[in-house]
């Protein structure tokens, strides 16, 4: 039986190479906007431009973990393997993006704060989040019994998701040196910076879906071989 039945996206979306090509072109457009369209910030200078992909990458990481959370909940409710495949695939991609967010955040922190890392609430939660999803990836490789692995991973994915709202609210609740871009009422970003950020977020979201579709199809192929 095809465990990704119902998630068989191949019939509804363009082939992989088209998605990769569009993703690549969007990435080039975003890079051009970051380096040539967006103005330089006055206090931090050129290094502030890390912000565009850093925020976009964090957004995709959070979104991917939300999909893992959702997949976990649905798997526990109906025990259909397709939801486990969705959760597993999304967690793997989320981990890639959240790792990029962490590393590039450190590269931004060094010239601005003077240190690569500080135990600020937002950064501490991000470190815990990274460790949790790293553990999740180990869990997915450790168990031999498919059903118990899926059940355990679903519970783990649901619990680990708490780091996403915690991270979001950390800079709003506690005193932190991490900048807050999106406050409830308005954003302080100039127009050109905002447009660049939106294009970057759109690009990263597109790449996430391209990765997700390829990852799910990969799982389907490996299942057919079993």
């Amino acid at each position: 039986m095809d465990k990704t039945e119902g998630l068989n996206l191949k019939k509804r979306i363009p082939p992989d190479w088209v998605m990769i090509l569009i993703g690549g072109l969007l990435l080039l457009l975003s890079l051009w906007m970051v380096f040539f369209y967006a103005p330089e910030e006055m206090t931090m200078g050129a290094v502030q431009k890390i912000f565009y992909f850093h925020v976009a990458s964090a957004w995709v990481g959070f979104f991917a973990f939300f999909i893992t959370f959702l997949g976990g909940v649905l798997y526990l409710m109906v025990s259909a393997e397709k939801w486990d495949v969705l959760a597993k695939s999304s967690a793997e991609i989320g981990f890639v993006f959240i790792s990029m967010t962490l590393v590039t955040g450190m590269l931004w922190a060094k010239p601005v704060w003077g240190v690569f890392w500080t135990w600020d609430p937002r950064l501490t939660i991000s470190a815990v989040q990274w460790l949790l999803y790293f553990s999740y990836s180990l869990l997915r490789k450790s168990s031999s019994d498919r059903n118990s692995e899926a059940r355990l991973a679903a519970v783990f994915g649901i619990i680990a998701f708490i780091t996403v709202p915690l991270s979001w609210f950390a800079i709003r609740i506690w005193r932190t040196i991490h900048p807050q871009i999106f406050s409830g009422s308005s954003t302080a970003l100039p127009h050109k910076m905002m447009v660049t950020l939106i294009v970057s977020i759109f690009t990263f979201t597109f790449i996430y879906f391209s990765f997700l579709i390829q990852r799910i199809n990969l799982e389907r192929k490996s299942d057919m071989m079993d």
């Binding site: 290094v47 992909f53 590039t104 590269l107």
Partner: protein, 32 residues
């Protein structure tokens, strides 16, 4: 050009390309 900025964007590109390549390689492996 700021070194940290350059390193950060290089890291983004390497990360995205490396994951894409890993997906392609795994797909090829599963076809065999």
């Amino acid at each position: 050009m700021n070194l940290y900025l350059l390193l950060a964007y290089l890291f983004f590109l390497v990360g995205i390309v490396a994951y894409q390549v890993s997906l392609i390689l795994r797909k090829k492996k599963s076809k065999r």
